[in-house]
Subunit: 414 residues, 2 copies
């Protein structure tokens, strides 16, 4: 079954705002077995909106209109659907009462215009919106002789998403032929991109019934496997079989079989080993600590860290001997190993990590170009470091570096 | 003049990929005086694409097709435009030669299918693509009796954007009535949202000829002012006049009149005062240091910081007396002031910042709920702290907290 999502709102036709609801809705629709064939973004202009609705109904079976349900003059979705399908709008008395009660409870004035939120399309069912004033509407209609499902949902993500889950998904499930969707997400770190393609493409292209999406970002690869089948067990079996073959090919680049992030995996291993971690960062400037602490509960294994931009602080907080910096420079294997060993000693952590490098855009020289980084991991047995040269802008170089650091910790813990 | 952007590619109809080129193109189009009335995303299906092209030509004057120009079977944009407008495609001999030369230079095989990239629409002009194999095409055509400009540009951002700037913008400028665009971006920090609305709406709504967009995110507000006029000086005068009135209303919430980030402004003031900064973070876990060090050249004023998740590290790295933590708890005014003063002392920085709080989702109690944070700034004269309770998930609470901390530093430096 084919669907179209129309996002309504002039702000999404500026260079600064993007429709993001449709990504969420697409995932939910795909899980029911409904594909998204078109996405349209249209402004708050009556004529444009009516035209877009008619176009959508001419080419798809399910139309989801997101936004334009509020109380202002710019909110035209109800009126436009009525005009596009020659339906009447009636003002619902219980909705009017609910709007008055809401205004009274919040002690806010209730302009007459607000009441348009109580207008219901002929033949439509209201869908409750506990997070806002405008309810959604579900319309099972006929257009050009064909049955069409038309859903009106509010635009603010905090209203749109819960309403779609609670009200639209069950109704759609009942209305469309049943499909089961199996899904798995595998993740791998720091695998060279050319290698990934060569390794993986021959495997997943042999599974034509499993849709494989590969997302790559700064040393992180996600493989999303999706199989739609009328039989749930058959869908799961195909996805698991492909996942098993991909996992084998990925060897120890694979860090997650169920979609967990690299930070989560590192914290999981730390917990398993009853180990603690501390970091000393120079060029990543806190990004490594920030990534680790973005995981709730990270305080159980992560003691803390230092951001040592100046040479003096490398000495003061991580015991790096000033002579070492003078002799080898701050961006060197010697200094990064001292950082990792020093922060471990100073914090009493099981594992210490050191990071130093040149994030750019300036500060590079021929022997130490922008993107050159050193990363070290230290435990009671040994301190080891690697040197890498990453490409891209300051942000990307820092992201690659933190990814590499987390992966080194993972490998040390494995 | 109205335009539509059609992004072509099935991957943009999945839950994981989004069209982002259109934001860039919209900005460039707006600067020429072309508005974007519709954005459509369509998959790699011939029939869908032809339909979308005809719909677009029926409702706008300028159609920009992004993607679908590559060598694979899925790349159908050229063929679809030809069919939608009943035009022929001819294979361009010099393009064929260029494709062969490119393959030879890169020592890659050249499948016959690749040659479709040399197919040119009847009446179209090729637009050079120095970053890829498929050139763009510019077509000045007639559809339904009206003049239509149709632009075919490649999808990869690294090809799309330079080609649009170099080839499309000058041609569009020559083809559409001349307009000048003046633009200003004002930024303000930590202004309560209700206050912002009440203060600003009466001012900017009086300037109907200036388009005002307000973007709010975790304590940061951007006001983007845009005026399009046939006279450049008149456009600039209107934007500057409105900007002046808004700046006055925003008082000291305003931190930037030219769009700089709060991090940049803080570093600017630090440089001006020849002051240095160091931070001691608990709940923000490195995010504050990360934000500051995301700015190139930040090492001139930012010495570094510590991420002190454990109580022991608060003492070891920022001199917080253990009794103070025992008596008041780690999330308290007393401890955050000790953090700020301690990190200043330990690093020798002019200014020390301390942050402590409960980022959630767990760990809150009735007297100290999730979202409660304390932030302190310390200099040679005094150490002061504030208490705030932010709402949202872990990420948002941490973002609000770092924004508040940066704003406190800005105010101390002003």
């Amino acid at each position: 079954m084919k669907s179209e999502i129309i996002a309504v709102g002039s702000e999404m036709l500026t260079p600064w705002r993007q429709d993001t609801n449709s990504l969420y809705l697409t995932q939910k629709l795909n899980e029911i077995g409904v594909t998204v064939a078109f996405k349209t973004i249209v402004g708050d202009r009556r004529k444009d909106l009516i035209g877009a609705i008619r176009t959508a109904l001419g080419r798809t079976d399910v139309l989801i209109l997101v936004g334009g349900l509020g109380p202002t003059e710019d909110d035209l979705t109800r009126e436009a659907v009525a005009e596009a399908l020659s339906l009447t709008l009636r003002r619902d008395a219980s909705q009017v009462a609910a709007l008055h009660a809401r205004a009274a409870a919040w002690r806010i004035p209730m302009p007459a215009n607000n009441l348009k939120q109580a207008d219901v399309l002929e033949g439509a069912t209201l869908m409750a919106n506990p997070n806002g004033s405008a309810p959604g509407q579900w319309l099972d209609a006929t257009f050009g002789g064909y049955r069409k499902l038309i859903l009106l949902v509010p635009g603010p993500p905090a209203e749109c998403r819960p309403l779609f889950d609670a009200e639209c998904v069950p109704r759609l499930r009942a209305a469309v032929p049943e499909r089961s969707i199996a899904r798995r997400t595998l993740r791998a770190a720091m695998i060279p991109e050319s290698q990934a393609d060569k390794l993986l493409a021959p495997i997943y292209t042999a599974y034509a019934d499993v849709e494989t999406t590969i997302l790559a970002h700064c040393g992180d690869i996600q493989l999303i496997l999706l199989c739609s089948n009328s039989n749930a067990a058959a869908a799961k079996q195909r996805v698991d079989e492909l996942a098993g073959r991909l996992e084998e090919a990925l060897e120890d680049w694979l860090y997650s079989s169920e979609g967990e992030s690299l930070e989560q995996i590192v914290l999981y291993y730390l917990g398993l080993r009853q180990a603690t971690l501390a970091v000393a960062e120079s060029c990543t400037g806190g990004m490594l600590a920030e990534r680790i602490t973005s995981v709730p509960g990270s305080s159980r294994s992560f003691l803390g860290g230092v951001v040592v931009y100046s040479d003096e602080l490398k000495t003061a907080f991580a015991n790096v001997p000033p002579e070492l910096i003078a002799q080898h420079g701050a961006v060197s294997a010697e200094v990064v190993q001292a950082l990792a060993a020093g922060i471990r000693l100073r914090t009493g952590a099981t594992l210490g990590v050191g990071v130093t490098g040149i994030a750019g855009p300036t500060g590079g020289i021929e022997s130490k170009p922008v993107g050159r980084v050193h990363i070290a991991v230290s435990d009671a047995q040994k301190t080891e470091s690697i040197e890498r040269t990453f490409r891209g802008d300051r942000t990307r170089i820092r992201q690659w570096t933190t990814q590499q650091a987390l992966d080194l910790v993972r490998r040390r813990l494995m």
